[in-house]
């Protein structure tokens, strides 16, 4: 049970939150190509190392926020964009 720091609620057990996966930029649906769209749908960096990801404070403040987590060690640090 890792500890995830919610910007509002502070460090919380990860069971209080939901991991919403890697942050991926969404192409503009009006102008995107299908190939680009499907890359957005299906392709992920999936690194063995630091990844910027979204968490949802499901049992707390209900905020979506991003952090950086190392997928090899589960270390967590603040994300630039949070």
């Amino acid at each position: 049970m890792i500890v995830v720091p919610c910007p509002n609620c502070g460090p919380r057990n990860s069971s209080d939150l939901r991991n919403a996966g890697e942050v991926v930029a969404r192409p503009d649906p009006a102008t995107t190509s299908l190939t680009e769209w499907r890359s957005y749908l299906y392709l992920r960096e999936n690194p063995a190392g630091w990844v910027t990801e979204t968490w949802y404070c499901r049992s707390g403040c209900r905020r979506y926020f991003t952090i950086e987590r190392n997928t090899s060690t589960n270390e967590i640090r603040e994300s630039e964009s949070s």
Partner: protein
Amino acid sequence: MSRHGYKYSAGRLLRHGLTRDAWPRMWRRPERRDSYDVVIIGGGLHGLATAYYLAQNHGITNVAVVDKGYIGGGGSGRNTAIVRSNYLTPEGVAFYDRSLHLYNTMATDLNLNVMLSRRGHLTLAHTDSALRTMNWRAEVNKLLDIDSAVIGPAEVKRLTPSLDVSPDTRYPILGALYHPPGGIVRHDAVVWGYARAADHLGVHLLQETEVFDIICDGGDGPDGKGSGGRVTGVRTSYGDIGSPVVVNCTAGWASLISNMAGVPLAITTHPLQAAVTEPCKVFLPTVVVSGSLHVYVSQTDRGELVFGASVDPVGSYRVNGTLEFTEELAGHVLELMPGISKMRLMRQWSGLCDMTPDYSPIMGYTSVEGYLVDVGWGTYGFKAGPVAGETMAETIATGRAADLIAPFTIDRFTAGDLVGEKGAAAVGH
């Protein structure tokens, strides 16, 4: 000597018992060559089976299987060893049925007892919608001649008396998909059987050899990698090995290895955990799966209960396990079998699973010539090992994708033609 080298038999066992003679090695520690016709990355079940069938069915023996650790140390040795073919889609059924067929004759084909135990596989339904899905699977299965049917709670109880089928539980057992040919097999023995047979046919098993890079030229990416290029070999911890064909048969690391060739994969890596109890006298005759409760269980011949669940919700490359996995697992197992609360969990472990968006593998040729993949096996790679090896070998030898793997091409994601196993495979053991 048989075609697999030193033949095992009851007679041999007797003779060795009497003479106390040493048994020969099951496989060599070969001298590494500078190049091979085919280099397979990953010495697990898939890699070894591919090598075996290349040699056995197609006569291609100048093959190296490269693994950074020891053979069978990844998912092949960490899974819960369940085999079955009662999938949801006709593509899935045909594929896994061929695999089950290969498992059926494996002990004699490979001259090693892999202890296939077709003890019957029950997928429990706790809701009417789950029951509907079971019916769907059963109907598809029957059309494809798979022994599979939906049975009621009384029959479930008859087959597996320790299950609580009373209607007043939180997750009542409304019925089950019963698949008599499903069962378990000794996973390590399968790995060793393929390793021993492949070695005898001339394949080199290069253990403790890590691949750092896949060497390419002509591609549209950096260092000649990527689309339009071709493979020339691999860079390993023991130097470069040349090969016109490199096959990615890894799990857990598949996307990282594939990036070495400039071929991105639709994969996220998640830990999958399992656990085993202390041994107790055998009381559980079948393999029991509950999708709603995210648990599957069987009892080994040594009396241990082996448990598995669905993948961890958070993607990572961690294999140290979590406490919450054991808590949820125990809670759910006891919902099904309240009477075993005093059994003790003895060991938990994890493996890495490469999950694809449609819970189906990615197999065959890629945009880089000579670079093939057999990856994205999620939680069901073990069942598919034999057929994956057979079809990958055919694909390599003939230069075109084998029919059975046609639905699993890497291009299906950009084409939007996903395979429909997701519903059935979420806890598809």
